[in-house]
């Protein structure tokens, strides 16, 4: 099985049991580029965190291809890329170091790490800014840096949470093109899930999942 399978998922945030985000939710994400669309607060980001294993379901199962569970540490470190809604660059490091630290933690060989990080900095148009600290970059550049960081370890599953929020068309296009190209490499076996309410991304998606409150809980 090469798809992410979600079965009978129940989830509410701790202390908010009366406000269930998911109740008996089923979904399948086959290899391809998926777009989760829906209004703010409907649970798109929460679903990405559940798939990433950063949150634990109250009930139900999430099957991740090649992993025992979403919380499988090896899977999280080596096979999962996540770009967060807010731009989460480490301020103490340069852009290159921000990209490299993820690969280093995934135990990538040094030579491969350097080559990969340079490749993704080139793809994202950040080579000239590689030695700058994040506070010297614009919002779009920071988002592209976060994307390069998620890509450096060539994850099998890439989760993007509102990647185009606050980005202009050029930056958005650069980002989505990179995501599409990435998904289509490696015999199209990679799964890319984007949570966004940005219509500019819809034409690039293989599958669009419309999220509505009624559907989930």
């Amino acid at each position: 099985m090469s798809a992410i399978e979600i079965n009978h998922l129940n989830f509410a945030y701790p202390g908010k049991a009366d406000r269930e985000i998911f109740r008996d939710y089923d979904q399948s994400f086959a290899p391809g580029l998926h777009l989760l669309r829906g209004f703010s607060g409907c649970g798109k980001s929460t679903l990405l965190r559940l798939i990433a294993g950063y949150l634990t379901p109250d009930h139900g199962t999430i099957f991740i291809p090649g992993a025992n569970s979403p919380r499988d540490r090896r899977h999280q470190v080596n096979s999962l890329g996540f770009v967060f809604q807010s731009i989460n660059l480490l301020e103490a490091l340069t852009i290159r170091e921000n990209v490299q630290i993820v690969g280093a933690l995934a135990r990538m060989p040094n030579a491969k790490l350097k080559a990969q990080s340079q490749h993704w900095l080139d793809v994202m148009g950040l080579s000239s800014l590689a030695n700058e600290k994040p506070d010297r970059l614009s919002g779009g550049q920071r988002q592209r840096a976060a994307f390069a960081r998620a890509m450096v370890k060539s994850p099998r599953i890439l989760l993007l949470d509102e990647p185009s929020a606050g980005l202009d068309d050029d930056n958005t296009l650069a980002l989505i093109n990179a995501a599409v190209a990435y998904q289509q490499a490696d015999r199209k076996q990679r799964i890319v899930i984007i949570a966004s309410h940005d219509d500019r991304l819809s034409p690039h998606a293989d599958v669009i999942h419309e999220f509505s409150h009624q559907k989930m809980a």
Binding site: Y54, E97, Q100, I101, A104, L105, A106, N110
Partner: protein, 368 residues
């Protein structure tokens, strides 16, 4: 290795960046460690000083010296048979009057009586004299002849250096003469004094002192204080009590120190952690282990607490060298200071517990 290098390098830079951004956070913790260390050193220094003073007094008296005194109605009376302590070690038996004689070169000396055979005892104690009377003095060179007088009586005495044990009996300057040299003083009250240097390879000084005290007690059923045993034992008991109090206070201070450091550092560290929880969660999502991130926070606390201790110790050392050199031994004694260092470091590690608990929070609840 690359993973370890990258993560360690990042964590060091992260700590430095945070400390540079909010210098009051490390400074306040450093100050707390410094003040607590200083206060602890100050309290324990008083014990160290007391111990040093007692040790000096014991050394001055002589650890294996026993002095037996018996009041005599007349100084010419024979020394009681109970003063024969030669079975325990080397002895020196004298009779002391309560009179003093005038030294021709200036100053006075207590008059004591001895028999001619006492000269042999004196020689055994290292006194260089070939005849009586002998003037034990430190004010004049040994081996000269001086005139010493009391009323109409006067003698030519040879000067000699008094053995240390004589000082244990409280005698600094003393003329040892024969009774007929000062017949008037021989009629007056005095005391028989026996100084015993115990052969501690054969006898326990405790048992000797206790045996002598029992005899002395039995001899004075009416409560007359006619016989007295002096030794370093009371000082040794005092020293033991002081060391026991020291150990108790050191343990108590260690606990207080560890607890205070744990509370203050823990509160400060958790506040700082909450501010940076987002970054920590991000690193965890990249694969950094909770242990390594927890160790970073612990290392920060350990560095600050040990730096505070080192500064306090350095200050104490500098002050002791110029004002109280007796404290130098205490301040350089790793064996004594180790429990305090352990308490400080233990407190710093305990301060990491709230952070360890906070780190159990799911990454997804922090990263939004």
């Amino acid at each position: 290795m690359t993973r370890f290098f990258h993560l360690t390098a990042y964590l060091i830079r992260d700590s430095l960046l945070r400390w540079r951004g909010r210098p009051l956070s490390p400074l306040s913790r450093l100050l707390v460690a410094l003040c607590l260390s200083t206060a602890t050193l100050l309290i324990l220094s008083s014990f160290a000083l007391g111990k040093k003073t007692l040790e000096e007094r014991i050394q001055k008296f002589g650890l294996n010296t026993v002095v037996l005194r018996t009041q005599l109605a007349r100084s010419e009376a024979p020394i009681p048979a109970s003063h024969d302590l030669s079975r325990y070690g080397k002895t020196l038996k004298l009779k002391l009057t309560y009179s003093s004689a005038q030294i021709s070169l200036g100053g006075k000396a207590i008059i004591g009586f001895a028999h001619d055979h006492t000269l042999r005892e004196l020689t055994n104690w290292g006194v260089k004299a070939d005849r009586l009377p002998v003037l034990m003095t430190k004010r004049f060179p040994a081996g000269i002849i001086v005139t010493v007088s009391n009323g109409p009586w006067q003698v030519e005495a040879q000067t000699a250096v008094a053995p240390r044990e004589l000082k244990s009996a409280g005698i600094e300057e003393m003329l040892i003469a024969r009774q007929h040299d000062f017949p008037m003083q021989a009629q007056t009250a005095g005391q028989a004094i026996t100084i015993l240097r115990v052969d501690h390879t054969l006898h326990s000084i405790d048992s000797i002192v206790h045996a002598l005290e029992e005899v002395a007690h039995a001899d004075q059923p009416q409560g007359h204080n006619s016989r007295k045993v002096e030794s370093a034992l009371p000082l040794l008991h005092e020293l033991r009590e002081l060391q026991s109090s020291w150990a108790r206070y050191a343990s108590l201070l260690g606990i207080v120190l560890a607890f205070t450091i744990a509370v203050v550092f823990g509160a400060s560290a958790i506040l700082e952690y909450e501010i940076t929880a987002f970054t920590t969660a991000l690193l965890r999502s990249f694969g950094a282990s909770r242990i390594s991130l927890w160790l970073q926070r612990c290392a920060e606390s350990l560095i600050l607490v040990n730096l505070g201790w080192a500064v306090a110790l350095l200050c104490a050392h500098t002050i002791s060298q110029s004002v109280l050199p007796q404290l130098t031994a205490f301040l350089t004694d790793a064996h004594t200071l180790f429990p305090l260092i352990a308490a400080l470091n233990g407190g710093a590690l305990l301060a990491g517990i709230p952070i360890a608990l906070a780190m159990r929070r799911q990454v997804g609840l922090i990263l939004q």
